[in-house]
Symmetry: C2
Subunit: 207 residues, 2 copies
Amino acid sequence: MGNEHEPNDVCSFRRHEYLAREGEMQDRIYRLEEGWACSYRLLSDGRRQIVSLFLPGDFCEPQWVLSQRVVHPVIALTQLSAQAIPVQEIDRGRAAEAEGLKSIFNAMLQALNRQAEWIVSLGCKTATERVCSLICDIFTRMRANDLVAGNGCAMPLTQYDLADTVGLTPVHLNRVLKTLRARGLIELKSRSLRVPDLDALKRIAAA
Amino acid sequence: MGNEHEPNDVCSFRRHEYLAREGEMQDRIYRLEEGWACSYRLLSDGRRQIVSLFLPGDFCEPQWVLSQRVVHPVIALTQLSAQAIPVQEIDRGRAAEAEGLKSIFNAMLQALNRQAEWIVSLGCKTATERVCSLICDIFTRMRANDLVAGNGCAMPLTQYDLADTVGLTPVHLNRVLKTLRARGLIELKSRSLRVPDLDALKRIAAA
DNA sequence: CGGAAGCTTGATATAAGTCAAGATCCGTGG
DNA sequence: CCACGGATCTTGACTTATATCAAGCTTCCG
């Protein structure tokens, strides 16, 4: 379990540990410091779809400020440390906190727009386009969070995780990665990603 | 164009008319009275994905209260009439309006959750499951908005619209509908939908 | 050092897409 | 009121992208 519940506590979670379970009431949101997390949905026959990814620096899940009910479970995809921020602390109208509320609404909007784009990918893009879209999204977000050095960044997701995000089987995802590597578009090994030419990748991701 | 811009005006739009264009600033949100609308994304080669549907009674788009920038274009799918609500009117802290703000945040949360579920459908469900999921979603929302009589409601979307929502080709969508009709699970003709057994449909939609 | 988790590859199956044509519905102008 | 034409729906034959099944390989942690 994550640590004790104290204001603005730093919690840590082991890989695959729950940050939040479906149906729970969550009276605090997390700000990830190190490590990645995701929310997902499991169908009764075991199919899994990852609904959103949380990278270091991201809020998880901003909408808990509006409703504390957890709709999709959240787990750590890696060893993880996160700051826990009680929602009442945010809700107050104090100036400093108003700033905080603004950034959380902003995170909500971004999540909404990212989800919409993701619907577009899943709804009408090919396997290769989807994979490129996802990599572009991750790379861009990592850069925005100041986590890109040179043209590389961490990428701790397994191919199973990636497959469950882009809606492909692990086998097919692997083949797509293989061709992208062969084309020199990405380097991806030992939990790290390098993108020599982001624009080229964006072009393949389909406008 | 929709009507003049006056507070809480009722606007009307013809089918395929824009309610909002990509990149615009939108200083008012709509509350649909009659008719349906959608937001969508067009890829450069013409592929279209519908990102969300707006039914009578729905707010379109609640997030404009937080950011007025239109990310996805919105068009009328039918002849449409809607109440326009200026966003400043909502933002004020007055008691009556605070109630309004709450219902708009609520609409935002629902949109977020619906989108997440839609990612699940597109990411890991079969064609039949997706179609059933969509029909259940529409029927349930129509019922919540008090627009179901008996077990039927309006359903003015063309099969092209439906196909662009569920991420299938119109041809394949048509075949799926055919088998659902044959199984007695839906009746769908001349812009109207009848669902004799919603639970059966939900079961097929996959938990 | 052993074993599980993760990755890679080949052979084959299948769901959904594409192409093409015809049928039906419906609004509009004569 | 009817006739025409475009939008919408339906169906058939065929193709293709992705899934499935299966096996071997590699990495890395305990």
